[in-house]
């Protein structure tokens, strides 16, 4: 009970929707997106985790290490996405594609997956960013297509 109240407080303070397991808001991860994220991890050894979130901060699927809280990351990805979209609209008025956050301990790259979702990819400091982009961009694209299809109820073949 206390936990739910705390969630409500966090929701009010951060203006980010908090999932409440008791109310079924914590939806099942999208199996197609999850499979795509797992494949991506198989292809990139330096990848430490990935997550897909909608632009309103809801978690769609994640493949994150246990040390990272997926709901919080999803909310953060959404705010990063909207911040970047605003930056783009002021700077050169196009569509946002990706933002690379590099720290001393690794990378966090956020890719646009259509206009309503984002793909976040975390990688080791020694990661090959060129390859990370080459592998992740098509994945973000595929996820965007899938989300459009899922919304309209059509099926699309899996990513090769």
């Amino acid at each position: 009970m206390t936990k739910r109240r705390l969630g409500g407080l966090r929701e009010r303070l951060t203006k980010v929707a908090m999932s409440d397991p008791a109310h079924g808001l914590n939806r099942v991860p999208d199996p197609v997106v999850l499979a795509v994220l797992r494949t991506l991890r198989g292809r990139l050894p330096q990848l430490t985790g990935s997550l897909v979130a909608s632009s309103d901060g809801l978690l769609i699927a994640h493949d994150l290490p246990a040390s990272i809280e997926p709901e919080g990351m999803a909310a953060l990805a959404a705010s990063e996405l909207s911040l970047s979209q605003r930056m783009v609209s002021i700077a050169n008025d196009g569509a946002f594609r990706e933002v690379v956050v590099q720290s001393t301990n690794g990378y966090a790259v956020i890719y646009a997956a259509g206009s309503t979702a984002s793909l976040t990819v975390l990688a080791d400091p020694g990661a090959n960013v060129g390859r990370l982009h080459l592998e992740s961009r098509p994945v973000a694209h595929h996820i965007a297509d899938h989300l459009v299809d899922a919304a309209s109820g059509t099926q699309r073949p899996a990513l090769p």
């Binding site: 990661a127 090959n128 960013v129 060129g130 390859r131 982009h133 080459l134």
Partner: protein
């Protein structure tokens, strides 16, 4: 014109050159590319050959070989690919990548030219 553009132009001036790139092997991204084609995407080549250079450096470290890589030659049935790490203080962590058409290239001359370009380059 920057020194980087000049280096890329000189690389493409080597007989038989079909693609050239200057690549940062810390990130796997190309600082500059010239040439290439639909069948030779230099961005992919940059990322992929970064793994080649890193693997070789790691292997040498594990073998305890304390030497520098002068160049790496990859011979395909119709192409030569030459990778040459930049040794100068200003080019640390970069390598030159040159793809050549085997039927038109002179390997010895190409390596010689690449050595000269590598010595001149300032990034």
């Amino acid at each position: 014109m920057s020194n980087l553009d000049l280096a890329l132009k000189s690389m493409m001036a080597v007989d038989g050159a079909v693609g050239a790139a200057v690549v940062d092997y810390n990130s796997g991204m190309a600082l500059g590319i010239l040439g290439g084609s639909k069948t030779l995407d230099l961005q992919i080549a940059a990322a992929g050959n970064t793994e080649v250079v890193r693997a070789k450096l790691r292997t040498m470290e594990q073998l305890g070989i304390k030497e520098e890589i002068e160049d790496i030659l990859i011979t395909l049935s119709a192409q030569y690919h030459i990778i040459r790490p930049i040794t100068g203080r200003k080019g640390k962590g970069l390598f030159l990548y040159l793809a050549l058409d085997r039927s038109r290239a002179n390997l010895a001359l190409a390596r010689h030219h690449l050595k000269g370009i590598e010595e001149e380059i300032e990034v």
